[in-house]
């Protein structure tokens, strides 16, 4: 076995991946490492840093909206703020975060493998990611000003505005490339290097969710890539593509943008659903209810999610037939998501529930994502959407699904897996307190958006009518509570990495998936031997009260 080549430490122990020394030492040992675990950590650090920038911008946007007229910045700065906030949060944080951090770290371990299929390609994706992220930050610093088009880059404005659009567009293009390569890597990993006994239906649901996500990434990302590339070409060479003054059709841009960006919402949410499917059975000590339904619903989402993009364009005057079809499909795509929600709830039913931080965040996910999904259905109805589109209602919907979904999924994952990754436990009490700040702050911040939108408050607006102010003030106060919660939560996790209680116990939470059978923190090679996979991923034999099927009988 290859483990012969690994230097054992003085106790005759294999060193963990954190201590392991390869060809390079120190910092180089990290940024040149092709170990999937180290790459996961690189992503973790970089994505959380960008998240901090994104949160700061969001905080400033809310501060600006405290009063109906200018509060802290002018209108141009405001436009740049919400654009950058959107670009960072969508393309740099929520799209990559769960696959790149936890997928990288745990997918190979969950499959019983030593690494991903293409380790060097994996490292390349991180460099592409960093280049993309840096370009976005540069656009902010360099003269000319950051992009001010909103994260949707609609033409013709994105072709004509004088700001540093090229940086932002190039950044998104490069990030897309990074995303495609990660997807390709995971697909090949799942197909080719599962442990011999790890059949498809023994795979943990997190792996299934990454499988579906990776397909979406590979299939739809090239479309947005080429679309944005054409906007760059149009800006630089004045080639006529989308600009109506050169004969182009701006609506074609919108179609192509949403052909990616609607499926992208599933790139964003499906991995988080995977996390939830791991956390819920572990903390309720129950076999997941409807394993195959959950696995297949990920694929169904990937399929139907690619056919609904034009529900973002109901107000653009498409043909009635098109509007009808897209509205109908939008309703259909809600079904697989709902299936998952029902399955999770059924899993919790009669479980012996441990309300640890990961489960709290998972429950928050279910609650907030349901609100997000149901408001999505409201928007999917044609006549209602004509009224709601471009109002604050949409902004509420986005945040409930993306932040309430993927954000909470990320926090659940952090509390669930971080102790495994670093061998240190956080302060559980502080984690629970932080959760309540996050949860309450979130709802105080975002729920008023629905009311504001319903009242007619437009989206992306710097000024607003005085009658909206009460709700804006409530929302801004909510943003303060949320930020306190986030600082408390991340501070607690960060502190634990430095002086948290050391743990070496392998199975911290009593999970049944393979990552809980390896050392804490894992060794460089993950496994001494290719593991035998006898049980399914969620077989809680001992303390299983009774499965629902038995109960029905």
């Amino acid at each position: 076995m290859a483990s012969d080549s690994i230097a054992l430490d003085h106790n005759g122990h294999e060193p963990s991946y954190l201590e392991y020394e390869g060809k390079h030492k120190g910092l180089l040992g990290w940024i040149l490492s092709t170990d999937h675990k180290r790459i996961g950590i690189l992503y973790l650090i970089s994505i959380l840093s960008f998240f901090a920038v994104g949160v700061t911008l969001g905080f400033l946007i809310r501060l600006e909206l405290l009063t109906p007229q200018g509060t802290i910045v002018g209108p141009q700065a405001y436009n740049e703020f919400f654009t950058l906030h959107g670009v960072i949060m969508i393309f740099i944080v929520v799209i990559p975060v769960i696959p790149a951090v936890f997928g990288n770290f745990f997918l190979p371990i969950m499959l019983g493998a030593k690494d991903v299929a293409f380790p060097r390609l994996n490292l390349l994706t991180w460099y592409l990611y960093i280049i993309g992220g840096t370009l976005v930050l540069l656009s902010l610093i360099l003269p000319g000003g950051a992009a001010d088009t909103g994260w949707t880059f609609y033409v013709p404005y994105s072709v004509r505005t004088g700001t540093n659009m090229i940086f932002t567009l190039t950044a998104v293009f490069i990030l897309g490339f990074s995303s495609i390569l990660t997807g390709l890597n995971f697909l090949t990993t799942i197909h080719r290097i599962r442990a011999p006994q790890m059949g498809w239906f023994k795979m943990p649901l997190f792996a299934w969710s990454l499988y579906a996500t990776s397909w979406i990434q590979v299939i739809v990302t090239p479309i947005v890539g080429i679309t944005l590339l054409m906007v760059i070409v149009e800006r630089v060479f004045h080639v006529g593509i989308f600009d109506p003054s050169l004969g182009g059709d701006p609506l074609l841009f919108q179609h192509m943008f949403w052909m990616y960006s609607h499926p992208a919402v599933y790139i964003i949410i499906v991995p988080a659903m995977g996390v939830i499917s791991e956390v819920i059975p572990v903390f309720s000590h129950r076999t997941i209810f409807g394993y195959k339904f959950i696995a297949y619903s990920s694929l169904a989402i990937a399929l139907f999610g690619s056919l609904v993009w034009a529900h973002h364009m109901f107000a653009t005057g498409m043909s009635d037939t098109a509007e009808f079809v897209f509205s109908l499909l939008t309703f259909v795509v809600a079904i697989p998501s709902a299936i998952k929600v029902f399955n999770w709830t059924a899993t919790l039913y009669k479980g012996s529930i441990e309300l640890e931080a990961p489960l709290l965040y998972a429950l928050a996910f279910i609650f907030l994502f349901s609100i997000g999904g149901l408001t999505g259905i409201i928007q999917g109805a044609l006549n209602v959407d004509i009224y709601l589109t471009d109002t604050y209602f949409i902004v509420g919907h986005i945040h409930y699904v993306v932040f309430g979904g993927t954000g909470m999924g990320l926090f659940a994952a952090l509390h669930y897996w971080l102790p495994k990754m670093f061998g240190r436990m956080y302060n559980k009490k502080v984690a629970r307190v932080a959760f309540w700040f996050v949860f309450v702050g979130f709802n105080v911040l975002y729920f008023p958006f629905f009311i504001l939108g319903w009242m007619g408050m437009p989206r992306r607006s710097y000024h607003y009518l005085p009658q909206f102010q009460t709700y804006h003030v409530i929302s801004t106060v909510g943003s303060w509570i949320l930020v306190i919660g986030l600082v408390l939560m991340l501070g607690n996790l960060l502190r634990s990495l430095i002086n948290g209680k050391k743990i070496t116990e392998r199975n911290i939470w009593g999970g049944e998936t393979l990552e809980w059978t390896v050392e804490t923190p894992p060794t460089f090679e993950n496994f001494e031997n290719i593991p035998d996979v006898i049980n399914g991923p969620y077989e809680y034999k001992q303390n299983e009260p009774a499965t629902i099927e038995e109960e029905v009988k």
Partner: protein
């Protein structure tokens, strides 16, 4: 279920299917990238039938045809280089790889001559002559330069890739028993070829 020992072996050794699968997925995403452009082309062609057919008459079919022949032949030489290495004749394989690169260079030179001629006629993005034409023709040339240009970049990348493979073949890293790298580079080159096969009629033949 197969025995563990066999799989441990497979785990430790190289897995050609893995490399091929990676490349196929990559090519798939490349096709979709160009697919986006083909979509734009069809939409605009549908909107501006007449202008498209006028503009396409300005194309130099001679160069287009020549380049098609060149690329098709280069796909053949690429395939031959793989067959050669499989049969163990390294020199022959290197020869065919170099010929493939040479075809690539000829393709690019042709392109250069062709584009220069169009530029002299004033058919380039942003030129006053082009901007005075109807929108459909502006779009036609916009798409022409974008699509053929992006394809050209792929030709360059492909040539670089093959050159790298030639180096590996000379060093013996690519050999009779391990030629999957050359094979995947070949797949990429065929993709470049296939995309041209679609570009050619769309811009040169349909009027």
């Amino acid at each position: 279920m197969s025995t563990q020992a066999v799989h441990v072996e497979a785990h430790e050794h190289r897995d050609d299917i893995r490399s091929r699968m990676g490349m196929w997925l990559f090519l798939f995403s490349e096709l979709l990238l160009f697919g986006g452009l083909f979509l734009m082309y069809s939409v605009y062609r549908f909107m501006h039938q007449h202008d498209f057919s006028i503009a396409s008459k300005e194309m130099n079919t001679f160069f287009g045809t020549m380049n098609t022949v060149i690329l098709l032949t280069s796909s053949l030489t690429m395939a031959l280089s793989i067959t050669a290495i499989k049969r163990g004749s390294r020199k022959l394989s290197i020869f065919f790889q170099l010929v493939t690169i040479l075809f690539g260079i000829t393709f690019m030179v042709n392109k250069f001559i062709e584009w220069s001629a169009e530029f002299r006629k004033g058919n380039f993005p942003g030129s006053a002559i082009l901007l005075n034409k109807p929108p459909g023709q502006i779009l036609y040339f916009g798409l022409y330069y974008s699509m053929v240009g992006l394809h050209g970049i792929h030709v360059l990348v492909g040539m670089g890739l093959i050159a790298f493979m030639t180096r590996l073949t000379i060093k013996g890293i690519i050999n009779k028993d391990d030629y999957v790298k050359l094979e995947t580079a070949g797949l990429y080159w065929h993709l470049v070829d296939i995309i041209w096969i679609f570009l050619f009629p769309l811009f040169y033949l349909i009027t």
